[in-house]
């Protein structure tokens, strides 16, 4: 096992402007096999200039790793403007101690990311595999697609311990999302596969669904009026109303399933 600690230096976010740092170059697979000095020389974007990781982060490396799989990256400091944490990562582990900025785990293929705080918008965007755990809230467009695309998350597992923002799981095609809190409007918008479980409340879930499954354990506000009631069914001992839809997408395509109490 190897642990790479990256602590954002205090000066980076102490100015009047909080200029984002883009760190998709700091994933376990990309840092694996590098010495401390080499890691410090890896380039990251800070605004419109490229900087050395070592200039923005305090870097320390403990232990040895036989492969990227055994690399754990721990990120610390004020991460609220640190974007793309773990984006595109294929293996290994990242732990972010605190709130993180946008695109955390975007295009992730494997490995595990734990955010010990909130994650801003587009966490898990276009995620292909791996595990993303957000201990706080997730922002809007969790596990969604990029603008114009028609596929969001296709695989992997995401757990949000808090609430999720608007349009969670938009265009989701596979994988699983568990939201332990509430979901803001339009969770599962355009969903076509996979499963979303919302333990809290939801507003207008499942609009334009063509596949996949959404289960809402709390209350639903403003149910989409173009779903068809199928039957009452029991899941884990609780009674749910099962709907299919969205008929606003035409009957042929309305293959989504919504379970509502």
């Amino acid at each position: 096992m190897q642990t790479i600690r990256l602590k954002l230096k205090e000066g980076v976010m102490s100015g009047v402007a909080k200029i984002p740092v883009i760190v998709d170059s700091l994933t376990p697979d990309k840092l694996s096999g590098k010495s401390e000095a080499e890691i410090k020389a890896v380039k990251v974007w800070w605004g419109n200039r490229e900087e050395n990781t070592g200039d923005l982060f305090e870097v320390s490396v403990e232990g040895e790793a036989g492969s990227a799989e055994e690399v754990k990256v721990v990120m610390e400091g004020d991460l609220t403007r640190v974007k793309y944490i773990g984006a595109g990562m294929k293996t290994g582990e990242i732990v972010a101690n605190g709130d993180v900025d946008m695109h955390c785990g975007a295009l992730m293929e494997g490995g595990k990311i734990t955010v010990k705080g909130n994650a801003d918008c587009w966490a898990g965007r276009e995620m292909r595999g791996g595990e993303l755990i957000i201990e706080g809230d997730a922002g809007a467009n969790l596990c969604a697609m990029y603008r114009g695309e028609t596929t969001g998350m296709t695989g992997g597992k995401v757990i949000v311990h808090g609430n999720a923002g608007e349009c969670a799981g938009q265009y989701m095609a596979g994988g699983e999302i568990l939201i332990k809190g509430n979901a803001d409007i339009l969770a599962g918008l355009n969903m076509k596969g996979g499963k979303i479980t919302i333990e809290g409340d939801a507003i207008m879930p499942g609009a334009d669904m063509t596949g996949g499954e959404i289960l809402i354990k709390g209350k639903v506000e403003d149910m989409i009026p173009s779903f068809k009631f199928v039957e009452t069914t029991t899941i884990e001992g609780e009674e749910y109303r099962k709907y299919t839809g969205d008929l606003a997408m035409t009957e042929k395509r309305a293959k989504g399933v919504l379970y509502v109490k």
């Binding site: 918008c121 587009w122 922002g139 809007a140 467009n141 923002g165 608007e166 349009c167 803001d184």
Partner: protein
């Protein structure tokens, strides 16, 4: 500036919307004028809501949301259903809206949960309003 945290009950609960008006449009290039102030530092509300807060046209009304509060002149609005108030788009409406776009690039300018009450506090002019932003 006080930020409303739902801990205290205030006036009447309404939905706040904003938008263009002819007078607002005519003074787009003339924003530091009295005409613009008169066109924009106001709140149109229904007769019912006017009665509920005990105000008459021309009285000052305080509009408060999760994001801030602002005082504007009450104006009788034609065609408003009860519970909807309108402030022409501009600095006074924006004093009580949020810049958080929640992943969309567009703040929500319409349909904001707000509370209104009659007040004796003055309507700030544009420079006073701007000063408020510089303080924070």
């Amino acid at each position: 500036m006080a930020v409303y945290g739902y801990e205290e009950e205030m006036g009447v609960k309404v939905k706040l919307i904003s938008g263009r008006t002819v007078a607002q449009g005519q003074n787009l290039d003339n924003k530091l004028s009295d005409e613009y102030f008169n066109a924009v530092a106001l709140c149109e509300l229904s007769t019912e809501d006017m009665e509920k807060i005990g105000a008459s046209p021309g009285d000052n009304v305080k509009v408060r949301t999760k994001y801030g509060e602002v005082v504007v002149k009450a104006k009788q609005g034609a065609g408003y259903p009860e519970g909807i108030v309108f402030i022409p788009m501009g600095p006074w409406a924006n004093a009580v809206t949020s810049g958080d776009t929640r992943g969309a690039g567009m703040p929500q300018f319409k349909g904001i949960d707000a509370e209104i009450e009659k007040t004796d506090e003055p309507v700030l002019n544009i420079k006073e309003l701007m000063m408020r932003y510089k303080e924070v």
